[in-house]
Amino acid sequence: MSAADPTTLNSFVAATIQRLAAQRRRERINYILLTVTGIIGLLLIWEASVDLFKMPPYIIPSPDRVLNALWSGLAVPLNSRVGFYLPLWNTLEHATLGFLIGASLGLIIGSLMAEYRSIEIILMPYAFALQSLPKIAIAPLVIVWCGFGNGSKVVMAAMLTFFPMLVNSFAGIRSTEPERIDLMKALSASRLQTYLRVKLPTAAPYIFAGLDMGVVYALLGTIVAEFLGAQEGIGVVITQAQAVTDVAGVFAALVILGGVGIALHMLIRITEKRVVHWSDRHK
């Protein structure tokens, strides 16, 4: 083939593009096939092991029992007292509220600590001490202070979201390149202008990593508060199912929680991709 001949060259380029596209398509199909095979394989092994070792359903239920429980929880009207929808809504409502409060406070206090050395010196020891403490251990105290109601759920979710946000906001703002700060200084920019226009966007990838952790922790905090005493929520569904040794029901609730966790994580990732569009490419 001669590169000097434009028609030959063009058809060659077109063929190459087609070949590469076909290759990409094949790779994608392979990816999906492998994932589905993995899931089916896992379920088969699960089913086989339960049969083989004669596991009683109140210890480990077989996949079809879990699917049954899942179906009976989902195949109800949205506003039904039984089923997953109402408890899930209740859990998400309080987890979201707690998440918003905890994330905002974490961002604000983390920013203040990064901006003002004196605030950093005063607060850092407590931040360290509380960060190393397993926050779940405070849950009984929170119940004492805020009662067996929805308040405790929100407080637990907020507390668990707060720390990753605090640490990440602080680290992100401190990571601002000195040259960018020099730039703003040379422009006589105010502290607030430098913070809003340079430091906060620089910290954005860190902040999103904090939100990503925070959203899972908020769900965790809410569930723990529900375990310790609440009337509504997925945590209550789990404890009630456990009380009547409906282990398949517990599994089904866990599947729902896993799905919600993945959905929330994806939501944060998609938002991050839209907001921090420069992040992987700016260097």
Binding site: E177, E179, R180, D182, L183, M184, K185, A186, L187, S188, A189, S190, Q193, T194, R197, V198, P201, A204, V276, H277, W278, R281, H282
Partner: protein, 283 residues
Amino acid sequence: MSYSALAAKGLAWPGLHSAATSQVIGAGGPLIKAQGLVKIYSTVSGDPVVALDGMDLTLADGEFVSIVGPSGCGKSTMLRLIAGLDDADAGEMTLAGKRITGPSSAVGVVFQNATLLPWMTVWQNVILPLQVGGGQADTAHKATVQQYLEISGLKGFENKYPYELSGGMQQRAAIVRALARNPKVLLMDEPFGALDALTRERMNVELQRIWQTSKKTVLFITHSIGEAIFLGDRVVVMSSRPGRMLEDLMVNLPRPRNHTDTIADPEYIRLAREIRRMLDASP
């Protein structure tokens, strides 16, 4: 060729310097005068480092002065002092007869890296100086910025993000940003150090053109002897640390300069040899 000779030849950009000329003080005196500058940095190990020891420098209005010296000779420190980013430990600095006490809108700074903010488009980046630190984002200033974008060949790229531009274009955008407030002085700290050799040569020609049309006073820091001579009306040679002025050389090469002719000029060769001998002799 001097600045006034350039203006006489009509090389000066007519519409751009109106705001600048209205601020010009009594002609004749130097625009920037620095005497006996001393700067000492403390280091982590505890030994103080004398970056500058009695450095003198004067820049006439409209002049292009290059500073060349070994790395770590304090040339960047010198620029930071004049930019008002750092305070001198001793010595006097004046800009248009007034003491330099901090950053000023009469000074534009171009850093080693383009330091464009990756979350802003090219346009948002170049008008940043008009939006922070008391800058005025009026139509007259914006028109000036638009003219500079055109001069530097960035027209049509206003809505691109920095990561969509080549390194040379990014640095040109940084120059336009430094010119946004129509400053009298442009301070440039090894702005082309990160570019490949060919792009760098092209940028030198571009900068010469921008300088000739904008009629700014430029202080250009570099560690390239060739670049210093090619661009400068004068080349100031600095000793290695502690930084002092070794020599102040006039560059009598015709403008506009281009690489084909300029680097073959006997004057260029003589200057290059002299500077190299000086730097080799300096410990």
